[in-house]
């Protein structure tokens, strides 16, 4: 994010996000906007841990922790719905971050990628079971409600939309800052070669755990905001592997390890998914959405394993190189052989 054009694009995108709910003010449109921005936040946050190359399929554990935090806190203290509850959502992030410490400690002890992935999947299952079984606290399978604000009609979605926007922008900035920092450099060194990273003095264990904990916090906040928006949560709706699917698919579609990738991915996947369920839901055939989502996922991974953003960047780079070469050809006739002669030298 150094060139002025990047800042310009960011400013335009932000402006578009700010006016969107006023241009498209129907409840459907703002709901889609809310979910798109929520997932930008979730995906960007997940990607902070993703910088290390350790793929977590269990970050919905933190989503659920955040959701249950706000629900429990608000109902136990008898809080009223309103703008104040967004502050409680921050608490959801804090609790998720604290929970991430022991969970990350255990998951990162197994140094192999596959074991890490499997343990993170197990976390979601375990927390879901905890939410089912600790009935005295979580109300078990009957779920918990979150006090609702008095906002009505089409306006209802607007505060949630902006809460999601703040979360999205904040998380993207955090993720960008980390990527550019010494810490982020260490994380990416771990991704490329963990042993070498340790060899050159990166405290890999501390770095990985820190990234894991940091990435849990915005997701916890996101879970809390979602719970407030949804007004009622159940163990299976917040500790839900399909949330992980949405996050991971967004990041991979956009491009892992990039700042822009999760944004682009989430802005494509979420509206598509929302529209899909909106339409296929009416047909009464719930299988189609899974089928299409799976097919999309396959196409992305097989055709663009590095994601949209890196693929486009690579393509742009090639075009600019080609242009430079053509330009060179025009000015100096001998350049063709010099550039094309790589193979023979």
């Amino acid at each position: 994010m150094k060139r002025p054009s990047t800042w310009l694009i960011a400013a335009v995108a932000l402006l578009a996000a700010l006016v969107y709910p006023f241009v498209f003010s129907s409840t459907e449109a703002t709901t889609i906007g809310f979910f798109a921005l929520l997932y930008v936040g979730l995906a960007a946050s997940w990607n902070i841990n993703g910088y290390t190359g350790y793929i977590s399929l269990g970050h919905s554990a933190f989503f659920g922790i955040g959701a249950y935090t706000i629900a429990l806190f608000a109902t136990r203290l008898g809080l009223q719905g309103g703008y104040g509850l967004f502050a409680v959502a921050l608490l959801g992030g804090l609790v998720a971050g604290v929970a991430a410490l022991p969970l990350g400690f255990i998951a990162l002890r197994v140094r192999t990628m596959h074991s890490f992935v499997i343990i993170t999947i197990a976390y979601v299952m375990m927390l879901q079971l905890l939410a089912y079984n600790l009935e005295s606290i979580t109300n078990g399978p009957n779920g918990l409600g979150v006090p609702q604000p008095a906002w009505s009609g089409a306006f209802f979605n607007i505060p949630f939309y902006f809460a999601a926007l703040v979360l999205a922008v904040g998380t993207v900035l955090l993720s960008a800052w980390i990527r550019g920092s010494r810490f982020g450099l260490g994380l990416m060194a771990i991704r490329d070669d963990e042993d070498k990273a340790a060899g050159v003095g990166v405290d890999t264990w501390k770095y990985k755990l820190t990234a894991y904990v940091i990435s849990a916090i915005p997701i916890g906040i996101g879970g809390a905001v979602y719970a407030y928006f949804a007004s009622y949560i159940y163990p299976q709706t917040v500790f839900d592997p399909t949330i992980d699917l949405g996050i991971v698919l967004s990041v991979f579609l956009g491009g892992t390890g990039t700042i822009l990738g999760p944004i682009v991915g989430a802005l494509i996947i979420q509206p598509a998914q929302q529209l899909l369920t909106l339409y296929t839901g009416n047909l009464g055939t719930a299988g189609w959405d899974l089928l299409l989502l799976g097919a999309l996922f396959l196409v992305v991974i097989l055709l663009m394993p590095s994601g949209i953003v890196p693929s486009l960047v690579e393509r742009a780079r090639r075009t600019s190189v080609r242009e430079a070469v053509t330009k060179a050809d025009e000015t100096t006739p001998g350049a063709q052989t010099a550039v094309g002669g790589n193979g023979t030298s």
Partner: protein, 291 residues
């Protein structure tokens, strides 16, 4: 006390059945370096296949294996050929995502055909029971255990007593070296994946007989299978069997002596606790494969 003994027996029997479902997973990992998230959905698809054969053509589920095993084997061939083979780099990570996508598609297809109501496979040997230390164990557990032992025995013979198996084990040790020695790495990979998928036909039939299922069950199932496989040590067949039996005995004892509600929680909890002290699982080599 006799209840505990009964639950131990039940745990061993169902442990064998789970091991049968998990063995393909560990085999694919060892040979192809692939973590197959679709394995759970393969099991469920196979269960639907047995269910449909019995429901619409009145073919006994056990007899139906003659049809379902080749069908699942073919499915494995197709999936390996169309997707798994295309993964050149970062196989572990990309295979997780690709097989997850395959699972989603299969789940969607099954959902379209059967909707999401729970089904179960019925037969006289599912309802008949034998008393074991005060527990009434359905015959299907005994049949299932026997079937699991036979099939895993066959896999053992294939892997450790055949030319194919020798090539397969060479690949587990070192893929590149095996290829240099003239082993047709691609062919062995495809066949291994297809065999692993073919085995889910039996696993699915048994799974559908011991509990009600729908397409959604695959997530819970795959988590359990993956947990069994990492507890045993990724790539180790014996490990998968030991882990499977050990875990199921433990959770059955918890279910009988305390409460069934918490048994699944401990299924995951015990494994994670073990991994804290032994990150490579029971039989895995320490940090065997750097990924």
């Amino acid at each position: 006390m006799s209840l505990v003994l009964g639950s131990v027996v039940l745990g061993i029997l169902s442990g064998g059945i789970y091991a049968l479902m998990a063995v393909g997973l560990t085999l694919s990992f060892g040979v192809l370096e692939v973590v197959n998230i679709a394995q759970g959905m393969f099991v469920i698809a196979a269960a639907y296949l047995s269910y449909a054969l019995q429901r619409y053509w009145h073919i006994d589920p056990l007899l139906g294996l003659v049809i379902t095993i080749p069908v699942m084997f073919l499915l494995g061939l197709v999936v390996e050929w169309s997707f798994i083979r295309r993964l050149k780099q970062d196989r572990v990570m990309l295979s997780i995502l690709v097989s997850w996508a395959v699972a989603l598609i299969l789940e969607g297809v099954v959902g379209l055909i059967f909707a999401d109501d729970f089904r179960s496979i019925h037969s006289w040997y599912v309802t008949a029971t034998v008393p074991v230390f005060g527990l009434y164990v359905p015959d299907i557990y005994l049949i299932g255990f026997a079937l699991a032992v036979v099939l895993m025995g066959l896999v053992y013979l294939l892997v450790y007593r055949s030319r194919f198996g020798a090539a397969l084990r060479a690949m587990v040790q070192n893929r590149e070296a095996a290829a240099l020695l003239g082993i047709d790495v691609q062919r062995i990979s495809t066949l291994t994946f297809a065999i692993a998928t073919g085995l889910t036909a039996a696993g699915g039939m048994l799974f559908g007989a011991i509990q009600a299922f729908n397409a959604d069950s695959n997530l819970d199932l795959i988590s359990r299978l993956l947990i069994i496989v990492i507890l045993g040590g990724m790539g180790s067949m014996g490990g998968a069997l030991v882990a499977s039996v050990g875990l199921l005995v433990a959770v059955n004892i918890i279910a009988v002596t305390w409460t069934p509600n918490w048994s699944t929680f401990f299924f995951f909890g015990i494994t994670i606790l073990v991994l804290v002290f032994r990150p490579q699982g029971f039989f895995g080599a320490p940090a065997a494969r750097k990924v």
